[in-house]
């Protein structure tokens, strides 16, 4: 089935088996193996990518459902692999084996955006106003990405260091 995907800014016209997941299309067809397959089940978050700016588990979505979508993978987070978030992960040792790292980075990118937009979570104190990026808020939002090496302290420090003053207002994002 013909499917057009824009991945990391580049258009791709693919002829896909309808059974191919978005994750496998990225890894096997487009050779973008940065997105990882940890469970193929939507349980670990290693395959997290951004679709039209929002994070999803690429293993739970069929590629043909994404005709016309814009997808960002870890390879597209920066041109040199050294964005502030990527550098912070290295500096704070937000990884060990590295297998969950691309998913953590894509999730973290989306989390900062969600908070800037004022989208509340289960632990947000206020559903209406700006969301404060506390350690608890971050932990809640990052809990869909399992790290069995257990680098959660480093991951959280890395993300908080990039978020600077901890409170990102909606206005600032817009």
């Amino acid at each position: 089935m013909n499917t057009n995907l824009t991945v990391n800014g580049r258009p791709h016209a693919l002829d896909l088996d309808t059974r191919v997941t978005l994750l496998d299309a990225l890894r096997d067809q487009l050779k973008l193996t940065g997105s990882k397959k940890g469970c193929d089940h939507g349980q670990c978050g290693a395959c997290t990518v951004l679709v039209n700016g929002q994070r999803i588990n690429a293993c739970l979505s069929l590629a043909v459902m994404h005709d016309g979508d814009e997808i960002t993978t870890v390879e597209g987070l920066s041109s040199d692999g050294r964005s502030p978030l990527q550098a912070a992960f290295v500096r704070h040792d937000g990884m060990q084996c590295g297998y969950c790292t691309p998913g953590q980075l894509c999730s973290a990118t989306a989390v900062l955006d969600e908070i800037a937009r004022g989208w509340p979570s289960h632990v947000s104190a206020d559903l209406e106003g700006p969301v404060e990026l506390t350690r608890e808020e971050l932990a809640e939002r990052m809990s869909g990405n399992i790290c069995r090496c257990s680098c959660y302290p480093g991951i959280s420090k890395a993300i908080l260091s990039v978020a600077e003053d901890g409170t990102v207002h909606r206005e600032a994002a817009e």
Partner: protein, 731 residues
């Protein structure tokens, strides 16, 4: 030339403290970190050779003789290339350091979930569909699947009796006599086991998710019937292991056999649910612990008798009592291990086999003794530190438990803790603190490494793996420090059996084993440079690319018109006969327990660890974070559930088996006790990857008791058990 070292004697010359560059022993980035954050580190399933075929393993739905009734029809499906049920396919992964094929033959299923066939097709989707279409029937012979159904083996070499423990238990002033249970657990590394095999008619090249390549190479060669020199393994990046990738796994052997038969490269990736079944799990344990003590908490006798399980044809057994042999002084001792031969998926090494569960149960018992005697838990441990190995009488190579306990207690603020449980309430939450000691044996494995130094920098090579442990970082630091190179001029190449055989990753021995081989290789190069300059190696300073000998300063570039190669080789020696060597630590935890639901939240944790010289505090700290977090999982959420009837794993995925997530883990504090263990080799460094899990769960369980008065002896402490234990305690 090779610089060989057998570890027979202590290294009292602390050379690494005198090196000028300030690289070794200091925080450094992981060089592989930049590839990992960019998505450019390539794991086992991430090569894409021409003509790649995809294989999917098929599992046994029951135990017994296997029949594939529609094999021909499935093989005829469009895009399917082969349905393989090869006699050389393996039933489960090899045990660590097996060095030979594990049990082979998949016409018979010894446990539910065992691989019994491989379906190979042109695409992953076709292979998956065909694997589901294959009708597998098994004659379904019912085999024992719970420990209570069999009489366990009692191997003579796993039983210890010293003094007269039974009389001591009968006559003691204070006796703790309790049974503790821990469930089966799994490694659940994030990268599923995977292999990409390529056969060129002469040599098999396999990229795999493996921890110990020099052993894995022989295991694979033996499995598929090739001479070892015709097998090349590649594992430059491995997405976690924790013991589950120690031995060659079913995907590797199946991919290799299929590639050899079809003449095309084949990739086999285990599905997450197969990862749970096909690779080794940590056995469940039942531990009978007895502590006989004087009224002031001095141990006079201890008993630690454990029951574990294993498949009939496997020789590994969870060494539950390993830490209890040396942890505490007591003249009268009874330690034993029993093995129930049952048909659950094979048991094997999972992070810190033995102490992870053995020390955890023992440290809960020690807390019960502290409560019974009224002695402070930290003080109780201090009172019972042995001055030599309590069983062999050998001296300890170095023993810093006292420092770990005292420094940890001070940093945690232990002193302000009320003695009695159930003293602090914060809304519905009872809060309290608990602690435990940590013990882990220290090991060294034979290892080799090579360094080539040229004008453009140094290249370190070994078939050693980095499974997240920091091998790339510390080898880069060792070479840079000793050879006077900036970090960015040292390249580390790992995970290829064409390089010198390292130790592999496992048992916390990587840094002290392969790290020492890298040190020796660098030392051999230093010797050659010193010879060129006509001075003794000890008088040579290499810093920032300059060689200094006495009053002579020479640019290394001028000395290196050719390449200089150093080769290091270390092997364990008499040191292990002369001294008892181990790592020690202490865990402290604060928890909140809901009076309403029984839910437990860990509010903070601190670990203090003595592991010899710390080579890179940043990567070492991350290892400790990992161990401590596994302690949270062991204490609160992780439990593999086996069906009582056939032993199959009920919760064989990450939705059913709960590993800690970000929200379960508070900020973790790690302290390193300053230590140089002279018996550990020229760097005085010991292992660190496993100590962090040993006893960590006990600190949490003990904190639950302090918070609520509820004693949990059956892990994990799920809310139902916490509520029941609070009720039993009269609350």
């Amino acid at each position: 030339m090779t610089l060989d070292l057998k570890l027979d004697t202590p290294f009292e010359d602390h050379r690494a403290d005198q090196l000028p560059q300030g690289i070794l022993g200091h925080e450094q980035d992981r060089p592989d970190g930049w590839l990992k954050v960019a998505g450019r580190a390539t794991y086992a399933a991430e090569t894409d050779p021409d003509g790649l075929l995809h294989g999917v393993l098929v599992r046994a739905p029951a135990t017994g003789t296997v029949m594939l009734s529609n094999l021909a029809e499935v093989e005829a499906m469009p895009g399917v290339r082969k349905v393989m049920s090869h006699p050389k396919m393996i039933r489960n992964a090899a045990q660590g350091t097996a060095n030979k094929a594990p049990v082979q033959g998949v016409d018979h299923a010894d446990y539910v979930g065992q691989p019994i066939a491989l379906v190979v097709a042109e695409t992953f989707e076709t292979a998956t569909h065909a694997a589901h279409a294959l009708i597998v029937s098994v004659d379904g012979v019912v085999k024992p699947a719970t420990p209570d159904e069999v009489t366990p083996e009692q191997p003579d070499d796993k039983q210890t009796i010293l003094g007269d423990p039974d009389i001591t238990f009968a006559d003691a002033d204070v006796l703790i006599d309790e049974t503790y249970t821990t469930p089966a657990m799994v490694s659940a590394a994030m990268e599923p086991h995977a292999a990409t095999a390529d056969w060129d008619g002469d040599t098999l090249t396999l990229r795999g998710a493996l921890q110990m390549l020099k052993f894995n190479k022989n295991e694979l060669a033996d499995s598929v019937g090739l001479p070892s020199e015709k097998v090349r393994l590649l594992a430059p990046y491995v997405g976690g292991g924790f013991g589950s990738k120690l031995g060659i796994s079913a995907d590797c052997v199946a991919a290799a056999l299929a590639a050899m038969e079809l003449g095309q490269p084949v990739r086999v990736v285990q599905h997450r649910r197969q990862v749970f079944e096909v690779n080794t799990r940590r056995s469940e344990t039942r531990q009978h612990i007895r502590l006989a003590a004087s009224k002031d908490g001095k141990l006079v006798g201890l008993g630690h008798e454990a029951l574990v399980s294993q498949l009939p044809e496997e020789d590994f057994s969870e060494p539950v009592i390993q830490g209890s042999h040396f942890a505490y002084a007591a003249a009268n001792r009874k330690l034993g291990l029993e093995i129930a031969r049952i048909h659950r998926p094979a048991a094997g090494s999972v992070r810190a086999p033995g102490e992870s569960v053995g020390v955890t149960a023992f440290e809960i018992a020690m807390d019960e003794l502290a409560v019974a005697t009224g002695v402070d838990p930290v003080e109780l441990r201090l009172k019972n530190i042995p001055d030599k190995d309590p069983e062999s009488g050998k001296p300890f190579s170095s023993h810093r438990l006292e420092s770990a306990l005292k420094q940890g207690a001070e940093a945690f603020g232990w002193g302000s803790r009320p003695d009695k449980p159930r003293q602090h309430r914060d809304g519905e939450w009872w809060t309290g603190t608990g602690m435990s000691a940590a013990f882990r044996v220290n090991m060294v494995i034979e290892a080799e490494a090579r360094i080539v130094l040229s004008e453009s920098g140094a290249t370190v090579q070994s078939d050693m793996t980095d499974i997240g442990t920091g091998s790339y970082a510390i080898f880069q630091q060792i070479a840079a420090e000793l050879l006077g190179q900036p970090m960015d001029q040292v390249t580390v190449e790992l995970g290829d059996t064409r390089f010198p055989p390292g130790s592999g990753s496992g048992g916390s021995f990587g840094a002290a084993s392969t790290g020492t081989a890298v040190w020796l290789a660098a030392m051999e190069i230093r010797q050659q440079i010193a010879d060129r300059l006509g001075c003794a190696e000890g008088d040579l300073t290499l810093q920032d690319g300059i060689a200094t000998c006495g009053n002579t300063r020479t640019s290394l570039g001028d000395l290196l018109s050719d390449e200089i190669t150093g080769h290091g080789h270390v092997e364990p020696g008499d040191a292990f006969e002369k001294v008892r060597q181990a790592t020690f630590g202490a865990h402290f935890a604060e928890v909140a327990v809901s009076d309403v639901t029984g839910e437990v939240r860990v509010r903070r944790m601190l670990g203090s660890f003595a592991c010899g010289r710390i080579l890179n505090p940043r990567t070492a700290r991350s290892q400790c974070h990992g161990g401590m977090t596994w302690g949270i999982g062991m204490a609160l959420t992780e439990e593999l559930t086996h069906d009582r009837r056939d032993g199959h794993i009920v919760n064989r995925d990450l939705a059913g088996y709960h590993v800690p997530v970000n929200a379960d883990v508070p900020d973790l504090e790690v302290l390193f006790v300053d230590e140089r263990d002279d018996w550990a080799g020229p760097m005085q460094a010991k292992g660190i990857g496993e100590l962090g899990i040993c006893g960590a769960g006990a600190a949490i369980i003990n904190a639950i008791h302090h918070a609520t008065g509820a004693r949990i002896r059956d892990l994990p402490a799920t809310p139902d058990k916490v509520i029941a234990a609070m009720t039993k305690a009269g609350y």
